[in-house]
Symmetry: C2
Subunit: 269 residues, 2 copies
């Protein structure tokens, strides 16, 4: 990786749960030398991407990222288009809902909405979703560019005992997603979380992302699937419409078949 790439990679260690990071912590996280890391941080600070707390010496994201986000929103105002449907989805299901977008070969988290219904709920605090281990990832593999499959196979890290680890299993899982129109993940990325995803499309009719319900596994009662899927379909249609597109006819047909066929529902979950 280029020096610039390593420098930029440091930024991805910031998150809502880790908003401030010190030099030593960065070294551990990035598994890199202290001097190198320090210089990278200096570069980021000079560019305004991070700023250092004068007292604690810890680093946090700088104001320039707000500028960039504003410009991005003006250019591709997708996030705004997810807000209302995501809120509705979270309210209807009582579970955390989130939207991911595909850029290059990476599935990025774009927006999330937590339901206030339960005090225990899923928290979406990750920036990228592994293709093989998450509902969002599987959904992207099924409906996104075919070239992604090789990328997925090349990065099959095992996160839990339920994570898919062989190419054959992955092929089978993706096939099921294509057949049902929904992607399921059952404790395959994080313990105690079960997710369901549906695809989203842009104005060109191309796959553009996923909308997902992430539920606390203990709460997922048998037979709840059709209800969640119906809400997901609504959310997918709404977000896709807000992005200037519409759900392709073949996807609508698959959803319709899945919902009218209890056998397929069982397979999917």
């Amino acid at each position: 990786m280029s020096a610039a790439g390593k420098t930029l990679a440091l930024l991805s260690f910031f998150s809502a749960s880790r908003p401030e990071i010190g030099l030593s912590e960065f070294c551990k996280l990035a598994k890199r030398d202290k001097a190198t890391t320090y210089r990278h941080l200096q570069t980021l600070e000079e560019s305004g991407f991070i700023e250092q707390d004068a007292l604690t010496k810890r680093y946090r994201l700088g104001p320039i990222v707000l500028q960039l986000a504003q410009t991005r929103e003006i250019t591709v105002p997708r996030k705004r288009g997810t807000e209302a449907p995501l809120l509705a989805l979270a309210e209807a299901t009582g579970e955390t809902s989130h939207v991911s977008v595909l850029s290059g070969t990476t599935v990025y988290a774009l927006a999330a909405c937590e339901s206030r219904q339960h005090s225990i709920r899923a928290i979406v605090d990750i920036q990228t979703f592994p293709l093989h281990a998450t509902a969002s990832g599987l959904c992207t593999l099924a409906f996104g560019p075919d070239t992604l499959f090789d990328v997925a196979v090349a990065n099959m890290e095992q996160f839990t005992t339920n994570t898919i680890v062989t190419q054959t299993e992955l092929e089978s899982a993706v096939a099921t997603v294509r057949e049902t129109g929904f992607a399921w993940s059952n404790r395959s990325f994080e313990d105690d979380i079960q997710s369901v995803s549906a695809p989203l499309f842009d104005q060109t009719g191309a796959f553009a992302g996923t909308v997902t319900v992430a539920a606390v596994a203990a709460r997922v009662a048998p037979g709840i699937a059709p209800s969640i899927q119906r809400y997901l379909i609504t959310a997918s249609r709404d977000i896709t419409r807000n992005w200037g597109g519409s759900v392709p006819q073949d996807i609508e047909a698959i959803w319709s078949r899945t919902l009218s066929n209890p056998h397929m529902l069982e397979r999917a979950s």
Copy 2:
């Protein structure tokens, strides 16, 4: 500058009025080699900071900046604290209002609000404000860290025929700002724009940024200054409060003196 710094610098060329940029355009803007620029763009794309339009081959900001902005907002939710006061200021004055923040030695635009009162109005489409040529910059020099003055003197680019170009003039201008509590700029950065700034403070009582009214110069009638300044004082108090601070007593005293002294108002504008 380090390679990583040059790479990051490319991102600052994106703005609301230039949301998509091609390779050749980047070369001209950054005054750098095509091969180098291309590799830098590749690095940015790999890191998710930009994405390339499949058809036009032009680059635009990627979704990762939305993530970073969200984390920044959670860490330092300053932008939100400016929204209501800025709207009120824009409504009251009928002119574009904006807020800048100081990070390191750079004055960054944080938020802007355009009044709908006039069809011709100032557009704030810059990311950083030159210290010597803008009301925000002069206000920062007057109330921010003293070390900034040398930085300002070292970067006295002439933008218009009204731009301050000598150290003596700059010293005098900053002194006036300190005496009056407001910074004025009259066509010194952009033709036809006159701005007035007031300082903002954070929870530690330290200078943290500026709030500014940017008016179309033709519309700035003589004698309108006291009215704008009164609205600016309100906005400064409100934003400072939202940031967890309060306007220092000495600044309040200076404002009070300025408003009750017509002679000083004339000097300031």
